[in-house]
Symmetry: C2
Amino acid sequence: MEYRKIKDDEDRDADVVEADVESLRGKSLSGVSLNNKNTLGSSFGDRSKWKIKSIVTLALTLLTSSQAILIVWSKRAGKYDYSVTTANFSVEALKCALSLAALARTWRSEGVTEDNKLSTTFNEVIYYPIPAALYLVKNLLQYYIFAYVDAPGYQILKNFNIISTGVLYRIILKKKLSEIQWAAFILLCAGCTTAQLDPSSDHVLQTPLQGWIMAIIMALLSGFAGVYTEAIMKKRLSRNINVQNFWLYVFGMLFNAIAIVVQDFDAVMNKGFFHGYTLITTFMILNHALSGIAVSMVMKYADNIVKVYSTSVAMLLTAIVSVFLFNFHLSLAFFLGSTVVSVSVYLHSISKIQK
Amino acid sequence: MEYRKIKDDEDRDADVVEADVESLRGKSLSGVSLNNKNTLGSSFGDRSKWKIKSIVTLALTLLTSSQAILIVWSKRAGKYDYSVTTANFSVEALKCALSLAALARTWRSEGVTEDNKLSTTFNEVIYYPIPAALYLVKNLLQYYIFAYVDAPGYQILKNFNIISTGVLYRIILKKKLSEIQWAAFILLCAGCTTAQLDPSSDHVLQTPLQGWIMAIIMALLSGFAGVYTEAIMKKRLSRNINVQNFWLYVFGMLFNAIAIVVQDFDAVMNKGFFHGYTLITTFMILNHALSGIAVSMVMKYADNIVKVYSTSVAMLLTAIVSVFLFNFHLSLAFFLGSTVVSVSVYLHSISKIQK
């Protein structure tokens, strides 16, 4: 990876307490901190790369787990009465705005360069609609799978995503995982599923063949979208991440606009776009936007494997935090699944990716 | 390990079909095949060691899983109305008799040597009562633990045995396990427990502190007995295994005789020693005796780690066989647990024990 060398001394702010965060500000976390005074260009060491990777991974983990907590909170507060499609559109619009704001700062401090200019070529932008299109197809399929599987069953089947991401990461990005990393990946899938078991989970085994096939197709679509996004983000490493994000999110807005027209046109026309939005809805939109940016950063500075680990650990964190927040009861299956996931993370961490 | 070189050509029997078994007969499987025409003494290659290790491990796995199937069968056939203590005594007596029969053959073909003579010294025999005494204490404690935990809960807590065996194997036998092997061992424990989960398993989490402490003490006793037996068997590798077994089982008989007197004296006096024995009881005693001998052989030619893997895989095999025999229903937890156990076996197999 190539990053531009920076001198941090020039722009230290008094309000940033932690030295580690300070040294990172303006390097690559600019997408989140909006402190983008420097852009990517030349190289810095492995230690810095590792630091960025750790921080974006941690950010994604914390944002994902707080996301789930917000969902539980909103469910406890009552039924959703806002339209999900407008919320999804708002998330994309907010991400787009945040990317533009970060870019504006970069332009002010660095000037417009080949790597941070917003204008693009057909050859560059042609790939950007694909992840958003894949997610749209996946979200449409989601309505049909519930004819064969109930919601808790679908939560269980979604763990196929872990395996599909690993397989597509191997096939499309041509990155090899070591034997131990494959073993760890299978364990991650088994551990996450175990942690989600409840007395009614055995229903899943009665899923008809169509349900299994759709679950596998959806896992492949989701895995493919993730792997494709990584390919886009890494195709030109020196390209400013905020420009890449901007174009990704523009197409995200476009496809979500189509979803609004198809599904919620009447409701939006009659009740208004923001009907039913509450404080929690606003928090959820903000959280989803930040999580989305964190995912982009993990794709650029780490990879899909890290993303899968991050969101899996987030799932366990959510459950633990929910014990304190909502008096959740942790099952024996949760402890066993968490143990397996922990061992999986350990095994992954002790074995290097063979590239 | 030192074994005496043998010439198999001299004693091939027409009734032994398989070449592998044939070449092993008289080497070290003599304890089971009772074809002990040769005793241990000089060395043979790693391949032979591996072969013996594999065969005794396979034998233990199959015997352990058929043991569990016999227990299910006997439960289906009706309640036990024989005394468990007399059955345990019969198992020890049968093992003793089998060891003596194997020794008699050895003496006839090889003559009595320093390694295969039955007579022993105080210094040698002093260690032999300890495993039997530990099991006796453990069996007595077993009555008390049920004041705190129900039977299915106890089945779950018994998986502590896996961890205690690993820890004591490390501490007492001073054999190191690699990081990956430790990870695999934790997975084995988590996987076995997961495979045994049923909707009522969460009760275990309500076990009072005394129950946890007793479960841990029992796991330590059981692990200690296993590790101690391995130490005895390996202390003098050239010593004939049947002599070692004979003395172990003599003390087994002694301690089980004490158990009969303490628990079932009146019943045995009034109804007779073999009261209530059926064909299934006889099969179970025979199976337990052969399994016991297989355990001894695994201790001598392999180790406690192999034993734990072997009996864990046997547990899964039993469940799978029970689907066909008794129309058992396999749960999602069983599939997940089996996956974790399989990955554990794989991880253990790809990493060598660091001695």
